[in-house]
Symmetry: D2
């Protein structure tokens, strides 16, 4: 319920010499999704995390299928997986719906259908005080909004050793 | 012993609007380190992993201190943490030596000194057959060379939930 | 008449350490505009210039006002300024309408109002045969479609010496 | 005489899906060359143009031959073509020496040999006051140093209409 979908624009230049969206550029796409979701947070009465300061402390990314460049934006789910005192974790999934790349249309409910998942990822964000340059605690409002977005942990397939 | 140091050039444009090297660009730097190390592998009688095909299946990155742009390349250790039948894991550490950013000079051994670590990361690479577009097994030579580079697991501080 | 407007998405990361959209990333935005316009050409019965092969031979770019990052896409006009036997020139203007995207407000009709122009640019594209790796002549269909898009030369302010 | 050569590192990711260094990334390489030359200026007793503020007002770039990625840095000449009251023009040439970096062999002295030129470009830089956010005049020292670097105009092959 708390997941939201942010369609993200892939640039032609996100492809590398192998003709697929480069694995590093996938993180760039996720940054865009995060920026849009954080601004969306402000529109919903929350604080702007961009302005109040947030720093990336950790990324974990799993590439499940090659993402191919296309003109239409790619749907990406973004949600919160955990909220701590001074940090929170973001989950993402880049995918295509079962009936096609560009919004499908295709009638029918995807009964039994499964989405094609290209990427799953998690980011640990640490609240940061721009003035002092140090970590800070999340405000009550920030915690409240972030918790209202919380959903399942990212279902990673493999974990590093 | 098996770790090797690849100095990597940071571009001015790797900084983002916050004035630090952007977290996504850190992955770009690690890609460069990997490419140089893989070519180095060829020079030492091994295969060129770039040519025979390798795909990134997973990244895990931990940001420990802000990396600031400078003209001189930043030392980065790269090594292998595990070799499987069709994949292998790469470890990295971006750091500065204890006596300074640009190669120090400073005579003496850094007795008791510790390096400043900016980033630790791990990448899972899957061998890939460019012709068939499918995963493939590592060759005996590839395994041999990769195993000779093997060193400790990446000492991550925190793991995601 | 022949100019078309392609709204282009600016990424947060297009800003550099000075907090403005980096001058090089402006060229990246123009590449995206070009790619979208070229695909649009295909949709209108023309050839896909991306597939049949086009190479950039020259860019000229004039930066007139700092472009600031925002969530909403930035309107960009693109048109053709000249068509030759094996090449053609593209013109662009990145702007905000007078009561525009960034700050809007302004009620009044833009009677006599002027747009804020951030960038004007021109690109020389050379038709290219992907198979032979050599320049080629534009086909009759390509010329016809490109000519139907032709409009005024780019009104650059200053020229290099 | 006043031209200086700055070898610039090309990243694997500077290639696009066509397998050549992307035309926009060429501008990125030139930015790096400029940054290094400007810092070099400081080392020679001049001001740091990066710190005192310089803004790019115009680029003109000519692509003469495809630049292919390689591990070794690519030699790039940079020099000043004109100095005005509040601005100056930079010229560049990216090239390989006649018995050059990429494949060398050669042997013989380059008697009468010519370099392979990949790119020629010019950038107009405007002095900028970071505090007031407005253009400013070049200082006497800045003019003096820049004039000592002055050399021929960039020998562009074609000019736009």
């Amino acid at each position: 319920m708390a997941k939201r979908c942010v369609p993200v624009t892939v640039r032609w230049s996100d492809m590398d010499a192998f003709g697929h969206v480069n694995n590093v550029q996938v993180l760039r796409l996720l940054e865009e999704v995060r920026v849009h979701a954080f601004e969306d947070l402000r529109d919903h009465g929350g604080p702007s995390l961009l302005e109040s300061g947030v720093v990336v402390a950790r990324h974990e990314v799993e590439y499940l299928a090659p993402l191919v460049w296309r003109l239409a934006p790619v749907p990406t789910d973004i949600w919160i997986t955990a909220v701590g005192g001074a940090s929170f974790e973001v989950g993402y999934e880049i995918y295509d719906a079962v009936d096609g790349a560009a919004g499908g249309g295709g009638g029918g409910p995807a009964a039994g259908g499964e989405r094609t998942v290209y990427v799953r990822a998690a980011t640990t964000c640490v609240a940061y005080d721009l003035a002092t340059g140090a970590a800070r605690r999340l405000s009550a409002t920030e915690r409240e909004v972030l918790e209202s977005w919380t959903d399942e942990p990212v279902p990673f397939r493999r974990r590093s050793r």
